[in-house]
């Protein structure tokens, strides 16, 4: 380890850094709505930062800034050059840069949320970027989606199935979705939400709060952090 404290390129020591939470899922499923809801509900208890990966514009970042759920400066937008998926999985450099910039500017933080630009069912976050990830589906895509699986549905730490208020309009059977999701997820949690009806999304907020606490606990009890290569290793 180097002792150069002025070195802003140095990857923060895993000891004590914020939990990085990826929020992925298809376009329109409610990722930005969920991020806004989490900021609203957890903002008073956790020190937060948000990175958005907009596809064309800074739409999501602007929406979140306008929503007034978080200090606008704590919301950073990353451009992904036609490849939202690449930016969260294969070449995470710009996202890491954004996360570290937030931590340097506003740190210490408890939680940095990275919203993906939205992609297909195979889009997951690299473990080099996200410590935990939520995959957001909505019921309007039909109740077959969980059965189709894909890495997002099967491997995300939490699967959120949003827009339950629309289920009756699209003929989606939530029991089928719940059963199919459980079958491919090997016991990992699934939560049903209607951000429209319950804008505080208490259930998801509680899950996120839990993982932030256990992250902080792990870090405190492993003072040298997990064995990951750092910039000066």
């Amino acid at each position: 380890m180097s002792a150069n404290h002025d070195d802003r390129h140095h990857s923060p020591d895993p000891h004590g850094r914020a939990l990085r939470l990826g929020v992925g899922g298809p376009v329109g499923s409610g990722k930005t709505a969920l991020v806004a809801a989490l900021c609203r509900t957890l903002g008073p208890v956790l020190r937060l930062g948000v990175v958005t990966n907009d596809i064309y514009t800074t739409e999501d970042a602007d929406f979140l800034r306008r929503a007034g759920v978080l200090d606008p400066e704590r919301i950073v937008a990353v451009q992904t050059g036609c490849c939202p998926h690449t930016a969260i999985r294969d070449d995470i450099a710009a996202n890491i840069d954004a996360v570290e910039t937030l931590e340097e500017r506003f740190g210490p933080l408890d939680l940095v949320i990275v919203e993906s630009g939205g992609d297909n069912l195979t889009a997951t976050f690299s473990r080099g970027l996200a410590d935990q990830q939520i995959f957001v589906l909505d019921v309007s895509g039909g109740d077959k989606v969980p059965r189709k699986g894909g890495p997002g549905v099967t491997s995300a730490d939490l699967l959120v199935i949003n827009k339950t208020d629309l289920a009756k309009h699209v003929g989606a059977d939530l029991t089928v979705m719940s059963r199919d999701a459980a079958a491919v997820r090997d016991g990992k949690p699934v939560l049903f939400t209607s951000i429209r009806e319950v804008p505080e999304v208490y259930s998801v907020a509680e899950w996120v709060h839990g993982v932030v606490q256990s992250w902080a606990h792990t870090q405190a009890h492993h003072p040298h952090g997990p064995v990951v290569p750092t910039a000066n290793a």
Binding site: D7, H9, G81, D97
Partner: protein, 269 residues
Amino acid sequence: MDAALLLLADSRLPAGGHAHSGGAEQAVRAGAITGTEDLARFLRGRLATTGLVTAALSAAACHLAVLLGSHGEDGGRPWTEPSAAAAAESETDARAAWRELDAEADARTASPAQRYAARTQGRLLLRSGRRIWPSPVLDTLAQAVPDGVHHPIALGAVAAAAGCSRHDAAMAAAYTSITGPATAAVRLLGLDPVVVHRVLAGLVPDLSGVARTATAAASGTVEAGVAARGTAAEAVLRIAWEELPAHAAPALDLLAEQHLRTEVRLFVS
């Protein structure tokens, strides 16, 4: 050629390059690139200007990194001294040398939008490069220019850390100066990727020429500086970097400025 060059020049290198179009996105929007023929002209122009300049800066940075990196090795270098004070002094000199070279890159980049893009890319490349090829020279560079060094400087330094030659560094810079925009045009216009690769293949002689010219220019500049002065530590601070190529591409500068002011865009640059 060192095999590490393949890793360095690969578009899969996780260093943020995929989000940059090198002006291609704005050129497409402006109607300057509509198909493969326009694209070929755009790439040829880019290679002869920005491509050559960045290749020379990259070769120069590689050279500088090797000179600074030999500090402390058994080479009987004049500035290899054991005392802590001397080490600190040479570290200060090294940082100053990097800042000078970075300022040369700034001087060759008229558009603030391009400076921003080049520094962003350089910062990401250096961050990834330091984890892939850890080296004290890269640490010094990061500390010298903490907000992000120009991309070709980062590329040359990382090339040195990876064991590449100056010529490799120049080649990597020249190559990425055209492959980035070419890939972006494939994505933006739905061009036939095979035809675009044929265009790139047609530019191979130009690529080789640019890399050769750039390497010769960088080597001449550095060697003249090092030969003329007393100790090498002083010499690196007095290299006449201004003699490096400085071809300008005003159209690219304008495209970059327009791009930054466009609301709907997929690429950072």
